[in-house]
């Protein structure tokens, strides 16, 4: 029922790597490609401190967050024990070498999760 949208070809994602899919609202979605060309999609936000998972090292069916090396399962978005927490996952399918995401999910899922912040504290610089 839901509209699938093509985001890229499998070959556009580096093997054992990821690409970011920008959204109109909310944080980007990271699409990952494993060594066996399996493709997964997660919100590009580590459940720990919001690190961009798309920038992590992909190994097996996991990605290591670039900020503090939490290992996040690509299939379920959940941190490997003993760390705890999950990042929202997005439906994803591959057909004829094209990667499809669900448009409804892209438009509606996890819009409320904030981006991590850095830089000078506004209150103090004022």
């Amino acid at each position: 029922m839901s509209p699938w949208v093509a985001v890229c070809g499998v070959g556009d994602i580096p093997r054992l790597g990821a690409r970011r899919v920008a959204r109109d609202a909310g944080l980007p979605v990271a699409v990952f490609r494993t060594a066996e060309d399996k493709v997964f999609a997660l919100l590009d936000r580590c459940p720990h401190k919001g690190g961009p998972l798309s920038q992590g090292i992909v190994h097996g069916d996991s990605v290591a967050c670039p900020l503090h090396s939490w290992n996040i399962g690509l299939a379920d978005g959940c941190a490997k024990a003993p760390d705890e927490g999950c990042t929202p996952k997005f439906s994803c399918r591959v057909e004829a070498g094209q990667v499809f995401l669900d448009a409804t999910e892209l438009a509606t899922r996890a819009l409320d999760l904030p981006a991590p912040v850095a830089g000078p504290c506004p209150a103090m610089s004022a």
């Binding site: 699938w4 690409r19 899919v21 401190k49 920038q55 090396s69 448009a103 830089g119």
Partner: protein
């Protein structure tokens, strides 16, 4: 014998005899790697689930309760579908039918059998040993009987002044009994202590109220009218009153069951390196009952190592060998600090360093042989026990630190935990790990609540010591205090990560010896457990390939940390920082103007001057990186990489009225010769133009100080977690020599250092003597090293400009755009 996978009826049957720490740990390891392989049945002679036997002493002393020392509650067995028979002693193994039978007739069939029967206390063969009131000290029942006796009776005699005997004596005394320890040897704990430390220990225990009969030989135990023991009689006819006698004269591997079914036993059930009995391949054995290469271990750390190896074989992974352990000892009597490891007796052919302060109750002895630490005894101050044990295990040469050795690691300034070095003195609210904000209280709680035993487990659960590692010593101390026993005994060779059993050195050597050229080849040849490694081993292997086979091995960007893939430094919000290279810390108006323009154009929020004499632009969006590089038009500063960072300089003789050498030019020459140099970790240099050393060369990986007659080279300094002053390497005359010697040292580090090992750690691992021999003693070798470095760096691209050559994947800088719907699914 392979099971039909996924068919529950065909699961293999694993029976374990003995429900103690070593056995259950083996099951835990097995369940981790092969949770569904076996139907597991466990027989335990005691009516309890698995508990921490080491902590019986604190229970006896009234410091902990029995509930607190249970490691695996009954619910754990249920949760994992394990059939548990408590209070049932297995009396027979029928190897032909593959069935074990307990005293009450309970039977269980097995495909694999694990014998973890532990040990039995040695009972002196003296008359009266069967009397009421005569106990061993081994299990919960013994402990409970001692606690009960302490409420009713007055006089206790402990036979045996070893670890166990003293802990029992201390516990009984704490419970109000008058305790005499009878010890046949000339001093206490003679297997763990030398005579001086043994006597210090005796004195201290006497001050607490224990009595000792040293050298006394027990002849008989005399019964009273009620049939209970009343006195202990010695060879010389002397008698002392005793309402309770505790036999703690040693333990023997419990092998009766194994012997009865024909398994070869000699000082234990004889097993090979996979913990399989040499008689019957279906039967494994771990723990105090197993004899590995002639040794039956009694300490928990080696037993856990055995368990891990055994589990991988039971789990049909077929990897890992147990090759024996070095052990250390710590007495669990509150208030008495005592530690020993290795060969502490010394004697002919050994050198000893001794510090003795009998008045202050401190005694330390280090035994050295052939420039290596081979043993240590410490009494009164054991803070550095784990450090000495590490030196001992690693077999590190100690010539360069010999003068400091006695004073321990703790006087070398670690930062991040308020200067604490003694965990016992810290408050629960004190921070142990300054990186992750973990307090002593939360570490102790995790150790107790989650039953943690090893440093790695504490790291995983609490994060303590998991980041910079400077508080590792403190965390190890907390483990000793909280969990008891010795938990620092990691395997002699530490594996690179969970993906392999190989250590860094073995991987390096294999890559060189077998001319391995790709990560896949390494993983295949060395039988990696995971298909494509993890975030810890892949970057390391990638580096080893590139440093071993420059121009041959091909870089794999996907195996590099994001900073080295995007050539900028990721920040906490996912933005990046850019630090352009400023040769020797010098810049000019046009560079500054371009930087200023880029700051405005790309709205860069923070501009900061770094400690390495450069300018850091923080908060750049990833999409803007290539444009910022182009606009600034300066070379990459590699401030994001495990590579040469900066060469810090002072202004030197060009301007400075004290300057003796042109340090700025020397710095620029070094930086131009060495930039783009990847290394096991970041590398920082500094050049000062006179001994006032304004460039702070004393805390750099390579620090150079100009003096009137030439240049002094210092290596392996560090300004980070462990502030370490660089060590003098050599004095040379010309700038060309500075380049050659510095380059040779760095190439040596690049070829032999382990990934993420700074030069300070590398040099302390191999010893400065080795470095001197390679760089100074062997002129041809030095030139060859310097040539190999130049060969490696020749033609290396600048990743900010030569994208193709540096394999920079430009796709990463463009997010996939807002997608359009293309089709509907039915």
């Amino acid at each position: 014998m392979k099971p039909f996978e996924g068919h529950p009826m065909k699961k293999m049957k694993l029976v374990m005899v003995g429900n103690g720490m070593a056995g259950v740990r083996t099951l835990e390891e097995l369940l981790k790697i092969a949770p569904d392989l076996y139907d597991i049945t466990v027989f335990g002679a005691e009516p309890h689930p698995n508990y921490n036997r080491i902590l019986l002493s604190p229970v006896l002393a009234g410091e902990q309760t029995l509930d607190e020392i249970v490691l695996n509650p009954l619910a754990w067995y249920e949760e994992h579908g394990i059939t548990l028979h408590t209070g049932k002693t297995v009396t027979q193994i029928d190897r032909a039918r593959r069935v074990v039978r307990a005293a009450d007739g309970t039977e269980a069939a097995y495909d694999r059998l694990l014998l973890a029967t532990g040990s039995l206390p040695f009972i002196l063969p003296v008359p009266g040993r069967d009397l009421q009131g005569v106990l061993a000290y081994r299990d919960i029942a013994d402990t409970q009987a001692m606690i009960d006796a302490a409420t009713k009776y007055k006089h206790a005699v402990v036979i045996g002044g070893g670890l166990l005997g003293l802990e029992a004596a201390n516990g009984l005394m704490r419970r109000g009994m008058q305790v005499t320890v009878v010890h046949i040897m000339p001093w206490l704990m003679e297997r763990q202590l030398d005579d001086v430390a043994g006597q210090l220990l005796q004195k201290s225990l006497e001050e607490r109220g224990l009595k000792f009969l040293i050298g006394a030989q027990t002849q008989a135990l005399i019964p009273g009218k009620d049939g209970r023991v009343m006195a202990v009689q010695f060879k010389d006819g002397q008698e002392i009153p005793a309402d309770l006698v505790v036999m703690a004269a040693g333990i023997r591997p419990h092998t009766a069951l194994a012997e009865a079914c024909g398994l070869h036993c000699q000082r234990g059930i004889v097993v090979n390196d996979t913990m399989q009995t040499i008689t019957d391949p279906r039967i494994y054995s771990v723990g105090e009952c197993a004899a590995h290469r002639g040794i039956a271990y009694g300490l928990v750390a080696p037993l856990f190592e055995q368990g891990k190896v055994c589990a991988t074989h039971l789990g049909q992974f077929g990897i890992g060998r147990y090759t024996g352990s070095l052990t250390s000892t710590k007495l669990k009597v509150t208030g008495i600090d005592l530690f020993s490891a290795g060969n502490f007796t010394g004697g002919e052919g050994f050198e000893e360093i001794i510090m003795s302060d009998p008045y202050g109750g401190v005694y330390k002895k280090l035994v050295i042989q052939g420039d290596k630490l081979v043993g240590a005894v410490m009494y009164g101050d054991t803070v550095d026990g784990s450090w000495y044990f590490k030196l001992l295990r690693d077999g590190r040469k100690v010539a360069d630190i010999r003068d400091k050795l006695m004073f321990g690691e703790s006087n070398i300034g670690d930062v991040g935990h308020e200067g604490h070095s003694r965990a016992a003195l810290m408050q629960d609210s004190d921070e142990v790990c300054g990186c992750n904000g973990v307090t002593k209280g939360s570490i102790c709680k995790a150790i107790k609540d989650k039953g943690l035993f090893t440093l790695d487990e504490v790291r995983k659960h609490t994060k303590a010591s998991g980041s910079c590692g400077s508080c590792t010593g403190l965390v190890e101390q907390l483990l000793m205090f909280t969990a008891g026993g010795d938990y620092s005994a990691a395997p002699k060779l530490k594996a690179m990560c969970g993906c392999t059993d190989h250590g860094h050195q073995a991987v390096r050597e294999a890559i060189r010896a077998q001319h391995l050229l790709s990560i896949d080849e390494v993983f295949r040849t060395l039988q990696w457990r995971t298909p494509n490694g993890c975030a810890s081993c892949r970057p390391a292997v990638n580096y080893y390939l590139l440093s071993s086979w420059p121009k041959e091995a091909v870089d794999d960007p996907q195996s590099r940390f994001i900073n080295e893939r995007s050539h900028a430094n990721i920040q906490k919000d996912g933005s990046y920082s850019v630090i352009p290279r400023m040769w020797g810390g010098e810049t000019n108006s046009s560079e500054l103007r371009r930087i200023a323009d880029a700051v405005d154009k790309y709205k860069i929020p923070t501009v900061k001057v770094t400690g390495g004499q450069r300018i850091d632009l923080l908060g750049i969006k990833k999409e803007d990186l290539p444009a910022v590089w182009k606009d600034i038009g300066m070379p990459s500063g590699h401030a994001y990489a495990k590579a040469l960072r900066t060469v810090k300089t002072c202004v030197g003789s060009e301007w400075c009225r004290f300057g003796t050498q042109d340090s700025t030019q020397m710095g620029k020459d070094l930086e131009r010769a060495l930039w783009r140099m990847y290394a096991p970790h970041k590398v920082k240099l500094a050049v000062s133009g006179c001994p006032r050393n304004c460039a702070e060369a004393g805390i750099k990986d390579v620090g150079i100080i100009g003096v009137d007659s030439g240049w002094e080279l210092y290596v392996a300094g560090n300004g980070g977690i462990k502030t370490e002053v660089a060590q003098f390497l050599v004095k040379v005359r010309t700038p060309a020599e500075v380049l050659e010697y510095s380059g040779a040292f760095l190439q040596l580090y690049r070829e032999e250092g382990w990934y993420l090992e700074r030069t300070v750690h590398y040099v302390s691992r191999v010893g400065l003597d080795v470095v001197k021999q390679r760089v100074l003693g062997d002129a041809d070798g030095r030139r060859a090293l310097w040539e190999r470095l130049q060969f490696s760096l020749d033609g290396e691209p600048d990743p900010w400009f030569e994208f193709d050559k540096a394999q920079v994947d430009l796709r990463q800088f463009t997010p996939l755009g807002a997608p359009l719907p293309v089709k509907e699914t039915a």
